[in-house]
Amino acid sequence: MGVTMSEKKYTKDHEWVSINNGIATVGISNHAQESLGDIVFIELPSVGKSVNAKDEICVVESVKAASDIYAPIDGEIMEVNNNLESDAAIINQDAENTGWIFKMKVSNLSQYDELMTEDDYKKFLEQ
């Protein structure tokens, strides 16, 4: 279930976003999974839910702590990665590909343009 799409962009909260035909695929960055450590559970968002950028919409639990995942842009949740329900560790193995978390219909594309490119994100991590 590979995801090959538009340029991948990143938020300051360490989500990645990739857009294809107006549908954004969202996950957490490889850097985020490394700093969380072993991920053991994910509470996925509800399909059909309308969300705004920066809303807390789901939670990943690592052995040590729970971390919120934010909506990167405004939109509506279209699909969630149900494979993560039985095996959240997929995020540790392949955070930026098969470890995607949800897909959303984008209502405001200009918000995507404002996110960081991969190079910008790398620089952001070095700060």
């Binding site: 450590g37 053991v40 052995v63 040590k64 702590a65």
Partner: protein, 371 residues
């Protein structure tokens, strides 16, 4: 600024992720991650650097012992040589200032109490130790402290230090490593067989490299140390224990010398003997999540009518049970057979109560490994 343990560079070059803990930068896990480190300890063995812990040698003379007996609920004059004892420092209300291990050992044919205590409680503990003994007779051990834990621990250590074959759980000996004295106890904090070794900082790195020659062992951090101790139902200071909880409320009355509860020189002796005779108001229990939600420290425990009946003090994911587990306190009068709930992200989640430990202990006693 957090303090650094002597082998900081060694750990970092071995992939440790360092986090602040109890005033020190400590390895929380290495490259394999908390779950793999945890499983390796249960199936083979693991090596923990716990050099952040306090270590003190107190000359075992009658005056110091008398002074210390105000805080420690044991008969310190009757301690058996080369034995470790799990015990406490108690405040005036019988609350726990710290939980610690006190052992009686000989060094250069002089008797000492060897005390190992929590890094997070160093100030409180050392105030008491220095109050009880004069500086000349108290020695702050600057040694490193390593724990080897797991069923194969004996194989890891035996290639390096000759361990007497009759050494059992809570035995302690001064042994030789490359002609230098090291303090070796058969103990730990994971529920498994294992050893703790106190060794000079000069020898520490060579020693840990020697241990790692065993191909089935691995470095383990505080992350797996916590999930291992939680599965074994062992208490952690600042979570299950604090100054407002007595050892009896914490379900640890087995560690008290009952005769000492009649001794008015012991802090909190009346409160403790009352609690022993009349059930304390709260009791410690184990909890297992029913759904795959995680139980965490601080969560409130409810009955089916949403009455607050208690609180979680430690929670984590259990690699052995593949579920979230927790330790908490609930009202002693609550019937454990009834349904209980935790509020997790505004939802009432059903949890199951259970007795502790979650995973059977595997200590070495009288030549066999059992509970």
């Amino acid at each position: 600024m957090p303090l650094e343990i002597p082998l900081k560079n060694f750990h970092e070059s071995n992939g440790a992720k360092m986090v602040p803990f109890a005033g020190f930068n400590m390895p929380i896990n290495y490259k394999p991650g908390i779950i793999n480190e945890h499983k390796n300890v249960r199936n083979h063995s693991g090596i923990f650097d716990v050099s952040h812990m306090g270590q003190m040698l107190i000359e075992a003379n009658n005056l110091h012992i008398k002074n210390l007996e105000k805080y420690i609920p044991l008969k310190l004059n009757n301690l058996r040589k080369n034995k470790s004892n799990y015990t406490f420092l108690l405040n005036e209300n019988g609350g726990v200032v710290d939980d610690l291990i006190v052992s009686l050992i000989d060094i250069n044919s002089k008797s000492f109490l060897y005390v190992v205590y929590n890094a997070s409680r160093k100030n409180e503990d050392e105030n008491i130790f220095f109050k009880c003994a004069q500086n000349a007779q108290i020695l702050h051990l600057k040694n490193c402290l390593f724990a080897i834990q797991g069923p194969e621990s004996i194989e890891v250590i035996n290639n390096i230090i000759e361990v007497p074959i009759d050494m059992n759980f809570l035995d302690i000996e001064v042994l030789k490593y490359k002609n230098n004295s090291v303090i070796v106890s058969r103990s730990g904090y994971t529920g498994e067989d294992g050893f703790e070794i106190s060794i000079s900082t000069e020898q520490a790195e060579v020693f840990i490299r020697d241990l790692l020659e065993n191909k089935n062992t691995m470095l383990c951090g505080l992350g797996s140390r916590d999930s291992l101790r939680l599965e074994a139902g062992l208490s952690l200071y600042g979570h299950e224990l604090n100054e407002n909880i007595t050892p009896i409320e914490a379900g640890l009355s087995w560690a008290l010398d009952k005769d000492r509860l009649n001794d008015s020189t012991l802090n909190g002796n009346k409160i403790l003997s009352d609690q022993l005779n009349n059930k304390p108001s709260n009791k410690k229990i184990g909890l297992i999540s029913v759904n795959r939600t995680m139980l965490r420290d601080g969560m409130i425990i409810f009955d089916s009518n949403k009455n607050n009946i208690g609180k979680i003090t430690s929670g984590c994911f259990s690699p052995n049970l593949n579920k979230s587990i927790a330790i908490g306190y609930i009202n002693s009068h609550f019937d454990k057979e009834k349904e209980i709930f935790c509020e997790i992200r505004n939802k009432m989640e059903l949890v199951k109560s259970t007795s502790l430990p979650f995973v059977k202990k595997n200590y070495k006693k009288n030549g066999s490994n059992n509970e």
